[in-house]
Each structure stands twice: as structure tokens, then as C-alpha cells.
Symmetry: C2
Subunit: 325 residues, 2 copies
Amino acid sequence: MSFALQAVREHLNQEIAALPFGQHPPELYEPIRYLMQLGGKRLRPLLTLLACHAFSDRWEPALAPAIGVELFHNFTLMHDDIMDDAPLRRGEPTVHEKWNPNVAILSGDVMLVRAYEFMAQVADVHLRKVLALFSQCAAEVCEGQQLDMNFERRATVSEEEYIGMIRLKTAVLLGFALELGALIGGASEADQHRLREFGVSVGIGFQLKDDLLDVYGDQEKFGKQVGGDIIANKKTFLLIKALEQAEGAQATELNSWLTRTAFEKEEKVQAVRSLYDQLHIRKQTEQRMNVCFTTAWQALEQLQLSDAQKAPLRTFTTQLIGREF
Amino acid sequence: MSFALQAVREHLNQEIAALPFGQHPPELYEPIRYLMQLGGKRLRPLLTLLACHAFSDRWEPALAPAIGVELFHNFTLMHDDIMDDAPLRRGEPTVHEKWNPNVAILSGDVMLVRAYEFMAQVADVHLRKVLALFSQCAAEVCEGQQLDMNFERRATVSEEEYIGMIRLKTAVLLGFALELGALIGGASEADQHRLREFGVSVGIGFQLKDDLLDVYGDQEKFGKQVGGDIIANKKTFLLIKALEQAEGAQATELNSWLTRTAFEKEEKVQAVRSLYDQLHIRKQTEQRMNVCFTTAWQALEQLQLSDAQKAPLRTFTTQLIGREF
């Protein structure tokens, strides 16, 4: 029942490194190899492999579709980076910066096609369901990205709207990755659904944790610039709750920071963080996050698997959500 | 054996008009409905339906995948229009102009997902092959678009490189549309291949005809601005042949027109057309085009079908390639 995480990740990385994705013209395929080689934790395909292994003691049958999951995820990064005009991805120039936006559009398109090709590498008996689930997930991720862009232009966003958006943009892909592995591993329909719900709940909780880390994280451990969301007025869970609850002088101060165009970054981060503190936003966010993780663990417990079979998924998830402040 | 072209096209249009493609957020799905409603001849899905009907006397089983073909085609238009910075499509604002480029990227992405969903609406026995053929075609169309962009930046392009590019960018989708219909209609593998070759050859010939019409077409009958390719220095088959063959004063004059930034449009069109005339470019293009159409007709003749079964495909194609100068 043991799942050799590091060895499997290494195998996955070697498989991905050996894939050409296509040859000619190089402008189309080189950006795919570039982005797929920038690293990342391979979280999503590992979830697929872990789920398959939990039900069948083998991860190999899920390897090709797991690569499809990673290709799809990187396709969304390539196109999202154009839309967000992001200069860097994992510390290196984004594809649209290193080449140009047209190359990033077209390379991304062919990545989505290749994702379908890898996804189709499942047994005939699973093909139709895998395709249907993947297409639904892919459309939902696009819906989430569009909602995210819409919310940035809106004055207010409700808590439930925000949770709905991150569910689509981030969480459904984790849910799909797990459901896919469970399906290939021979899980019952009920267990496939439980693992999807587990993934969706973990995904939402994980995003809330990311929102928290931006404000309260340790710069040494956090991969990104602490305070980046505050500087950019990003409508995170924390800002949404603060906008909802701030009144009087607090509301005036918060809105003043949101509308100011010239400011000292560190001063703004400290001022907004202080407002969050006064409003107990950290605690509220942690509570909501913990509801998600509790729901996730409950779904995991209900799986028709032995404790030993559940253990690798549990360990991996614990590490994943256990990032320190 | 008769195929009621107008009635089937009308049915297809009604089906497409009734499709929501998705609901929320509207920014994602409204551009899809907009572009799919701009009209067009529905050439590609009609080829799928014609091919299916030729082998089975029914087109209905091919309707959903035929819509998938049209969705895919319109996805390529939505993304190509961003890359080409095109203001108009079928006389109306392009999606990136009417909304913005981010909306056009993301709506296009979800169109490709929906195309796969419609494509998957075939019998189980055909599903794997349809997906493999569609994915290959989709990647090739992307390769063709990238080559087209590359060629615009290059000083010279050979005739065979150009034919290879239009084969990928334009012709393989016609080939796939026909092969798909033949497959669903129960054609033999040999006939599926013949119909694909027919479609690819028609597609290349059709693009060469389009290149010719830009220079020698009747403005009354040609949908676009006659001379538009000349004004834009577009590397059409005609310009490629002229660059290959012009010497001395003719080469000097041609290059002078290609490098001039300020000019009278009509003067440039007439001057370049006159150079084409001197070099007998029209005749050479017509010869190459006719080779394509001859190859296409030969493939059609070899189909294991009666003359009556072939008739609708033959009539449709004759009308298609018979556009007057």
C-alpha cells in the first residue's frame, strides 16, 4: 500500500521531460516544453496517481491521464498569464514575455489539444466518462477565470460569490484530478464522488490559506511577495470580509487605501493588515478554511478503503495544507 | 439518395441558434453565441453531413459532431482574429474588438472544450478514432496558423512551404470534416481515407482560388476587398511565384512596392497585378489549382459508391469551387 511519493514524482518529471509534444514549427512546441519544465510541485497529477493507487495498488495506469491533468493546468497558466499580463511564472519569464502573446495563445491552444490526447489514454470502458468529466472541469475552470476578471472590476463581491469563483477557478481541477485517478483505479461511483468532494474542499481551503499567507505569511517560507494581494487591491477573502464589516472611520481608511494611486507599499500593507486585525479577519478566514478542511477529511473518512489505503492520500494532503505561517 | 442541401443547412442553422453553449458568466458564453450567429456558409459541417449521408442515406447521426466541426472552426477564427488584430469578421466587429482580447482568448478556449463535447457525441465504436482524428487535425490547424505568422516575417517562402502551410491551416479541417462523416456513415477505411484526401485537395485548391480572386476577382462577387492581399504584402501563392521569377527591373519594381510604406492603394494593386501578368503568374496559379482539383475528383471517383450516392458531394463541391472570377 505504500506510495513512494518522491520516486513517483521523479518518474513523472522524467516522463514529462521526455515528451516533445510536437516538433514543427518550433515556436508552437518550444513554449510548451519550456513551461512544462519550469517545475512546480506536480500536485495535480500526483493526486491522480495517489487516488488510482489507493484503489488498485498501482499508479501506472493513470500516468498518461495524469500528464493530461498537468498539461491542462499549465495551459491555463499560459493563457491566464497573458490575461493578467504577468511578467514572471515560477521566477522565469512567462511565455508571452519570452516569445509574444500570439505564441502564448497558440501554444496554449495546442496544449489543450494535447491534454485531451493524454486524457484519452484510458481503457475503453472509462473513455466516455473521463472525457465528459474533463470537459466539464475545463469549462468550469474557464468560467472561474472569467469570474475572477469580472470581480476585479466590481466594487463589491460577496463571500459566497468569491467561494464560488475559487471553487471553479482552482478547486474543481483538484477534484477532477482525484476523481479521475479513483475511476481508473476501479473505485465505486460513490467513492469517485467522495474523492472529488475531498479535492474540491481541499482546493477551496487551500486558496483561503493562500489568501491568508499573503497577509500573515513568513516571507522566508512564502513563495511570493508577502502583501502582494494588498498592494494590488486583489479581492481576496480577507478584503471581501473587511469591506463587508468595516464601518465609520475604518471603512473610510480602507477605501482610502484602495483608491490611492501613490503610496509606500510597506505602509499600505501594514495599514491594511492592521485594519484586518481590528476586524478579526484572520480568525474568520481561518474558520472558513477549517470548515473546508473538515469537510474534506470527512469525505476522505467515508471512502470504502482501509486506513492503510487512505494513508498516502492523507499524508500528502496534510503536507499540502500544513504550510506554516 | 437526394440530399436536400438548403433544408439541411436550415436545420443546422436552427440547431446552432438554439444552443446556449453555457450560461454563466455571460462574458464567456455570449461571444460564442455572437460568433456562431454571424452566419457563414456552414461549409465544413455540411461536408460532414454530406459524407455521412453518402454512405448511409442519413445525415442525422453526424449532426452533433458536425456542430463540433463548426465550433472548432469558429474557435480558430476567434483566436486568429486576435493574432491578426482583425477588426471585422463577416462585416461585424470581431470578438476581441466588441469585448476585449481577454474575453476572446477565454471564450475561444471554452469553444474548443465544447467542440470536443460535440465531437464525443458519436457511437462508442467510433469514439476513440473520432477523438484521435480530431485532435490531430486541431494540432495541425494550430501548426498551420503558426507557420502563416512565421512566413509573414520571412523574406522568402518556397512554393512547397506555402502549400504545406495552407494544407495545415485550411485544408486538413475540410479533410477531417469529410472523413468524420464517412466514418459515422459506415464507410470502409479506404473510403474514409479517400474522402479525407478529397477534402485536403479541395481545400488547397480552394485557397489557391482565394489567392487568385484577391487579384483577379470581380469586386461585385468577391466578398472581400479585391487587392487586399497585395496592399498588405500577404505572401500568397502569387506573390511567392512572382518573387521566385522576377529578375532585373521587374524584381526591382516588385521589391520597391513591397518595401514602400506610403502609396496609393489602387496604384500598388495595379502595378503588382501588371507584374503578375508579365510573369504569367495567373496561369501558373491556375495550373497548380487545377492539379489539386483533378486529384480531388480522382479520389471522389474511386469511392465505393454509386454515381447517385456521389452526386450530392459532387454538386456541392462543384458549386464551392466554381466561384466565378
